[in-house]
């Protein structure tokens, strides 16, 4: 079901865009690309194969990372609002990205795109923030979910304040940084897709492997322990998997919000009850959701683009409220 949704979203997103490309040309471009004949692509075919398709693939990978991470984090914290952003990964990445601009300067590789240092800084910032949260929350035997969430929120606030201060000092970059915090897939190419793939796969696999343990955790830490679940390693594995996948996603395309919140809730509605199917379905559904949101971002105001985070929240926000009104799944 979720897989079909993703396939449909990808088809639509590759077929539609700023320029009108006949379906036959789209198919020919994908055919040539997949058979290694990318050198012989025509002008329109090149746009499909080199601009549009990698952007869609990158969007699907980012959506999958965020969706699966959201599902697992909500399970871990037994909180329907949880996502990896709660632990500071987004605010840390934003600080890293902003710092890259200051350290490397304009045009010094601080921008985002293939071969730039920006993503490396953002990734380091995101993971650094999560590690800081874990350290502050004393991720020892006495760490509780509450202490982790509290530490995450406070770490996030501190890093966000630092980012805001740095951004306001550098008015020239204000627009670029704000755009980045709303998510931006515009320049995602095959290099970004390749960079995201291992993190998305490893992240989803790690989370999937903890699926049974997450099911047991829903009964409470103590009950899970008596069922043979080692609570602390499970917690660390989920946090590591979600943070790596989310951190890589944010590093490449900015902090897209809401996917990690919505995708798992929709999938629970559609019948994914235990965590293994829920994590897989949330990955597929999250991918579809982001691909569709980015399609809207590319086409609603063409040939100009809208921030994907704005589309996601304007459509996703009301949808989420509607889900809430219908009561808990």
């Amino acid at each position: 079901m979720a897989g079909a949704l993703l396939a449909l979203a990808v088809l639509l997103a590759v077929g539609l865009g700023t320029l009108r490309v006949p379906p036959a040309v789209t198919l020919a471009a994908i055919g040539k690309g997949l058979t290694g004949k990318a050198a012989s692509l025509g002008a329109l075919e090149r746009i499909v194969w080199e601009v549009r398709l990698p952007r869609v693939v990158a969007g699907a990978l980012v959506g999958a990372s965020l969706g699966a991470s959201g599902a697992a984090t909500q399970g871990l914290f037994r909180n329907p609002l949880a996502d990896p952003y709660l632990l500071g990964v987004a605010s840390g990445a934003a600080l890293g990205a902003t710092a890259a601009g200051l350290v490397l300067g304009h045009g010094g590789g601080a921008e985002f795109g293939a071969g730039a240092f920006g993503p490396a800084f953002a990734f380091a910032g995101g993971l650094g923030a999560v590690l800081l949260t874990l350290a502050v929350a004393r991720a020892g035997p006495r760490a509780t979910n509450d202490s982790l969430v509290l530490a995450g929120v406070v770490v996030s606030s501190i890093l966000t304040a630092a980012t805001a201060y740095l951004v306001l000092r550098d008015g020239e970059r204000l627009r670029a940084v704000v755009s980045w915090t709303l998510g931006n897939l515009a320049l995602a190419g095959w290099a970004e897709a390749r960079g995201l793939l291992p993190y998305a796969l490893a992240g989803v696999a790690t989370l999937f492997a903890q699926g049974r343990a997450l099911d047991a955790l829903q009964l409470g830490d103590d009950t899970a322990y008596t069922l043979g679940v080692r609570v602390r390693p499970t917690r660390l594995a989920v946090i590591a998997g979600a943070s790596l996948a989310t951190g890589a996603a944010i590093a490449h395309v900015g902090s897209v919000g809401f996917v990690g919140l919505i995708a798992p809730h929709v999938m629970r509605r559609l019948g994914a009850a235990s965590h293994r199917p829920l994590i897989v379905a949330s990955a597929l559904g999250g991918g579809a959701l982001l691909v569709l949101a980015d399609l809207g971002a590319r086409t609603l105001a063409r040939p100009s683009e809208l921030p994907v985070g704005v589309i996601m929240t304007l459509v996703g926000g009301p949808f989420f409220l509607w889900l809430l009104r219908r009561g808990r799944p």
Binding site: G17, T18, L19, A43, L44, R46, I47, E50, V51, R52, P54, R55, H106, G107, E111, F112, G113, A114, G115, A116, L168, R169, G171, E172, R173, L174, R175, A176, V178, S179, W180, N184, A186, L187, A188, G189, W190, A191, R298, R302, P303, S304, E305, L306, P307
Partner: protein
Amino acid sequence: MAAASRRAVLGGSLALLAGCGRGRKAGGGGGEAPRDDLGRLVRLEREPQRIVSLMPANTETLYALGAGPRLVGRDDFSDHPPEARALPSVGGLETINVERVLALTPDLVVCSEFGAQAVALERAGLTVWAGSAQSYDEVFAVTSALGRLVGRAAEAEAVGAALKREVGRVEGALGGRPPVRVYYEIDATPYTVGPRSFVGTLIAKAGGRNVVPEGLGDFPKIAPELVVSADPEVMVGLSLGEARARPGWGAIAAVRAGRVRQLTPEERTVITRPGPRLGEGLRILAEIVHPGALG
């Protein structure tokens, strides 16, 4: 494009600000009173002798008008001419320290019409003229208004006329050359400039044809697909390496010919600041778009 990005971020507060801006009571004498961009008539009792300028382009204009010696303060971004840097700064667009402005005892504050600073400064009892040029034509209008405000109307006309002559010389030197397709990038989002923006006007006068269509506004976030299909012959504002690394951009004419030109921060400032150095900005662009044409 500091002013432009601020406009985008803060534009929403403009309506609010316009609503709060009170008309000043008419004073005696002081000559013709120029209206500012908030629609207020600003009358001065006498020629201002202690001026604080909070907009980089306006600071440059005041110096060009010969009013530099009367400036007593500036904002963080007013960095030209060099003597402006010696003035005490009172903060940035959203961080103006009103107490520091008051301590300078100005009889005129020239500030941006965007954001809340005009209202805050006026509430503190200061005489405020809030306005800035956002387009090519507005440069001449603001220069003229500032000239009347500080009693340098004749100088303002001379500065405006000299700028127009400088622009005319560049246009003359480029005369007859076919326009070149140009893509100008503000940042790697990618944000670019529309044909009607200040930079867009300079590109046209520099013999370029902006690949960005009209109707998207002055600072659109452009679809990369469009840039690839429009196939610009010259790209400005990013490096060749950056352009090559972008998905599908390697096939663009400008990239293949190596005609992708990063701007130094200084060049970017000159090109994007709608003030008395617009002729200089135009020459930089013309040299990039039509190398060697200016001789």
